[in-house]
Symmetry: C2
Subunit: 192 residues, 2 copies
DNA sequence: TGGCTTGCTTACTAACTAGTAAGTAAGTAT
DNA sequence: ATACTTACTTACTAGTTAGTAAGCAAGCCA
């Protein structure tokens, strides 16, 4: 149980990620982070010279986490349906934390104002996530445990898009709206 | 055919809307609008004193447009499937314009940083749109022209969420990704 | 002709933005 | 003991932000 206080570099990344997911990239500043951390803005620049560095680090860490998570025996040994549910659980966690939006949903709207390295990293993140889900869906359908029309890649893209959008809806309205969409999505995938 | 140049007030609103949909609310300024219009920033403040006024006006206009559109005999006389296609056409238009995101998808990520009147207006806009689509879906299913599980309200929320998200995906990746999701969505609604 | 309104410009404020440079105290390495 | 590194702070720049106030030219109205 690693309850130890993480080092400043990590705490900055944690805080920046939280701010990104709750306010959007263009609506948080080094001052926000510094204030929360009890430190001067220049200290943030020491660890992450530019906001581009900070933003890229946030997405990069999520990518690495996804890569690890995807390969975890605890996950890969599960049935396709259970793997899907593990993914859905991630979105439910987002909803329950006061963040209420996923990385993709947070950055997509501001995408054109983002520095290129962040754009590249986000594209990779989303591609990797979609590819993984497509595999799970393929296996699930083959096993007769999941039902859907068309290509697994298309369905995977649709599912992820809907989940990202559903978190945004929850932010604008309330949790109920999220569950409405969430249950609809899940009931369509599982055979009656 | 009203090709007449609109007055400054309207041109500001048009430009602000375009900037909102392409860059997000926190990433455009009065200077952007003024520069494009060949006028000083203070001139924008003359027409819309605060950015809150401007933002609220953008959403308000879209709400009024939706209200009118929804009541148009040209639309109400159509079959439910044709009405659904008319809605889908709106999203395709968004995609083809360099905007590539809808009002909801543009504002949801920054939602918590928006002034309250904008939040209220956006909630109303989305509620009205969802309610309308739910009616169309109900009629379509009754007529046997549309197929889906569960409550029409849930399905309507899911469809709109997916469309909003799909435009965001198109921005991050490319048009192809949008069509993938779009076709998936449409094929699931229409009976084979 | 005189006064009022409209639609701006010029000139400004106060706050905030990302980012830099120089200095410094504490810890580490030799 | 000395040199170097780490992790900051202080102090600053230059640019941008929303917003205000005062002035002004043109058009309309009595």
């Amino acid at each position: 149980m690693p309850t130890a206080v993480p080092d400043t570099r990590t705490r900055i990344l944690d805080l920046a990620e939280q701010l990104l997911l709750t306010r959007g990239f263009n609506a948080f500043s080094y001052q926000h982070i510094a204030r929360e951390l009890g430190v001067k803005p220049a200290a943030i620049h020491y660890h992450y010279p530019t906001k581009e560095d900070l933003g890229t680090a946030i997405i990069g860490r999520q990518r690495r986490r996804l890569g690890k998570w995807r390969g975890l025996p605890r996950l890969t040994e599960l049935s396709p349906v259970a793997q899907l549910d593990a993914l859905l659980e991630v979105y439910l966690t987002h909803l329950r934390q006061e963040q209420r939006v996923c990385l993709f949903g947070s950055l997509a709207a501001d995408f054109r104002t983002l520095p290129e390295p962040m754009q590249r990293e986000l594209r990779l993140f989303n591609r990797e996530l979609t590819a993984w889900l497509a595999e799970v869906l393929t296996a699930g359908r083959t096993a007769g445990a999941l039902v859907f029309r068309g290509e697994p890649v298309a369905k995977a893209a649709q599912v992820l898009t809907t989940l990202a959008g559903a978190l945004q809806v929850a932010r604008v309205h309330d949790e109920h709206q999220f569950y409405l969409i969430f249950d609809q999505l899940r009931s369509e995938l599982l055979p009656e």
